[in-house]
Amino acid sequence: MIILTALIIFPIAYAIRYSFYDYYLTRGIMRFIGLKNYADAFRDEVFRQAAWVNIRIIVVSLIAEFTLGLLLALACYSIKRGRAVIVALLTVPIMISTSATGMAFRMIMLPEYGPLNYIIGKLLGRDWVAIDWFGDRNWAIWSLVIASVWHAMPFVMLILLAGLVAINQELYEAAKIDGAGSWRLFRDISLPLLKGPLFVAFLLRLIELIKMFDLVYLLTQGGPARVTETMSFYVYYVGLRFFRVGYGVTLSLFLLVLTFALAFALMQITRRREAVA
C-alpha cells in the first residue's frame, strides 16, 4: 500500500515543482516563472475547447450506448432460444483492446477503400458516400464516437442483462395477473430495479470517456484543426510533442484536480444511494 501511494505521490510532487518553470526540453531552458503557467492555463482557449470536445463525446456516446445497450439487453432477455450464443457474439467487441478497435476502424473508415462509406451508400440507395471520416471537421468527432460506442456498448449491455436476469420473475407474474401491459411491466418493474446496474455502468463508462486518449491518437490525432482534441490528448501534445514540459505539467495538475472533484462527487452520490437502500 505504501509502495502504491509513493508511486502516485512522487510524480505528482515532481509535477508541482515543474509547474512553476518555463521549461522546454528541446531547448534545455529552464526558467522560474512563478504562477504564470497557472494563469495561462486558466486562459487557455484550446484547453477549454478540449474539455468541450470531451463533454460532447461523453454526452453523445453515453446516450447511444445506453439506448442501444438497454434495447439489446431487453431483446436478449426476451428470447428463449439461443441466448447464450447471441450474447457471446454480441460481446465480441469487449475482447478487443482499444488500440485494436482503433486500428479496425482506421481501416473500415478509409474514405475511398473502407467498407463503411460503401455500406452507408447502399443503405441510402447509392454506390458510395463521400465522407472523409478523419479529415472532415464535422465528421471527425463522429468517428471517435462510433468507435467508442461500438467498443463499449456490449459492456453496458452485459451489465444491464445481468441486472435483468436478477429480477425476481414473480414480480412480473403478479403484475401480469393485475393486467399490466408490457410497457407498464418495463416502466414500473424493470426500470426501477435496474437503477443499480444502470448507475454502475454509467459510472464506469464516464470514467473511461473522460480519460479517452487511445482512440484519438489512433483515429484522428486530434485533427483536423484540433476539433477532436480531448483533454488527455492536449496534455500529451503540449508536453511530448512540443516538449513544453512546464506548461504540460500544469495542465496535468488541472486534470488531476478535476478528477478529484469528480471522484468526490461520485463518492457522495454512492454513499447517499447506499443510505437510501
Binding site: M1, L4, L7, I8, P11, I12, Y14, L71, A75, I79, L89, L90, T91, V92, P93, I94, M95, I96, S97, S99, A100, T101, M103, A104, M107, I108, E112, Y113, D127, W128, W150, P154, F155, L158, I159, A162, G196, L203, I207, I210, K211, F213, D214, Y217, S232, F233, V235, G239, L240, V245, S252, L253, L255, F260, L262, A263, L266, M267, R271, R273
Partner: protein, 282 residues
C-alpha cells in the same frame, strides 16, 4: 388463444430476432474485417468497391511478420509478453496484502476507499509527463522496470478495488478459527485465504495482464527502441507511408487480439460479476 394473438406474438419474436441479428452483424463486422484483411492479397485491400468476401487467401502478411527481415515481430511479441507478465506478478503481489488489510481491518476507512477510487479514475496522461521527467534523470526511460512501474500505478488501485470486493465476501470465521489454532495473520492469508480465493485472484491477475497488454500511452511515451510492444508495431505499420504495410498491420492486430481473446473467453463468467461488484462498493 386466438390466432390474432399468436400472430402478434410471432411478429414480435421476428422483430426481436431481426434486431439482434443486426446487432450481431455490427458487433462482429470490424473483427471480421481485420481478420480477412490480414489474409487478403494486397490488391484486394485497395479496390473499389471493397472486397467483402475474398476468394483468394494468402499467408504472406504473417510470413512477412515472422520469416523475413523487414518487419520482425518477434521482439515486439516478446516485449509485450514480458511487460504484461511482470506487471501482473508485481501488481498481484502488492495488492493482495493491501486489499486484505483494507477489507479485514477497514484500514483508513473511507479515505482509503476514496484514494483508491481516485486512483482508478486518474487519466494516465496526468502522470506521463512527470514520469517522463523522473525517468530521464534515473535513466528508466526505455526499460522494462520503468514501464512496469508506470503500469502498476494504474493497475494497483484497480486490483486492490476488485480484490477488496472479493475479500469482503470471504467469511471471517474461517480466518478467526485459524488464528485461534495458532497461525499468524500472514500464514492465515497465505495458507487459507489465498487458496480459497484462487479463482478470484486469477481473474484479477488476468485483468492486470490485459491492461499491460493493451497499453498504448505509456509505451508511446516512456518506451523506446528496446521496449516496443505489439501495439507500437501496429501503429508504426499503419502509419507507414507504403500501401504494402497494410496487410502486416492487420496481421499484427490479429496477433495482438489473440491472447486477450483467449483470456476473455476463459473468464467471461467472472467478467460481469467482477466488474460490477467493483463498481457497487463505493
Amino acid at each position: 388463444m386466438t390466432s390474432r394473438y399468436l400472430f402478434t406474438r410471432r411478429l414480435r419474436a421476428v422483430v426481436v430476432y431481426a434486431f439482434l441479428c443486426v446487432g450481431i452483424l455490427v458487433a462482429v463486422f470490424p473483427f471480421y474485417w481485420i481478420v480477412t484483411t490480414s489474409f487478403k492479397y494486397s490488391r484486394d485491400h485497395f479496390s473499389k468497391p471493397p472486397v467483402y468476401f475474398p476468394t483468394d487467401y494468402t499467408l504472406d502478411h504473417y510470413d512477412r511478420l515472422f520469416a523475413r527481415t523487414d518487419v520482425n515481430a518477434l521482439p515486439f511479441l516478446k516485449n509485450s509478453f514480458v511487460l504484461s507478465t511482470f506487471n501482473m506478478v508485481f501488481v498481484v503481489a502488492i495488492s493482495i496484502p493491501a486489499a486484505y488489510a483494507l477489507s479485514r481491518y477497514r484500514l483508513g476507512g473511507d479515505k482509503a476507499r476514496f484514494a483508491i477510487l481516485t486512483g482508478r479514475m486518474l487519466p494516465p496522461v496526468i502522470l506521463v509527463l512527470p514520469l517522463f521527467l523522473i525517468y530521464r534523470n534515473l535513466n528508466l526511460n526505455n526499460t522494462y522496470l520503468g514501464l512496469v512501474l508506470a503500469y502498476s500505478i494504474f493497475n494497483g488501485p484497480l486490483a486492490v478495488w476488485l480484490l477488496m470486493a472479493f475479500f469482503e465476501d470471504f467469511p471471517t470465521e474461517i480466518i478467526d478459527a485459524s488464528l485461534v489454532d495458532g497461525s499468524t495473520e500472514l500464514q492465515a492469508l497465505v495458507r487459507i485465504v489465498m487458496p480459497l480465493m484462487a479463482p478470484s485472484i486469477v481473474v484479477v491477475a488476468l485483468f492486470c495482464f490485459l491492461t499491460g497488454w493493451n497499453d498504448l500511452i505509456f509505451v508511446l511515451t516512456l518506451g523506446g527502441r528496446e521496449t516496443q510492444t505489439l501495439n507500437m508495431l501496429m501503429v508504426n505499420l499503419l502509419n507507414a507511408p507504403s500501401n504494402e504495410s497494410f496487410g502486416p498491420a492487420a496481421a499484427t492486430v490479429v496477433l495482438g487480439i489473440l491472447p486477450p481473446f483467449v483470456l476473455t473467453l476463459f473468464m467471461q463468467r467472472y467478467l460481469v460479476s467482477g466488474l460490477s461488484l467493483g463498481g457497487v462498493k463505493g
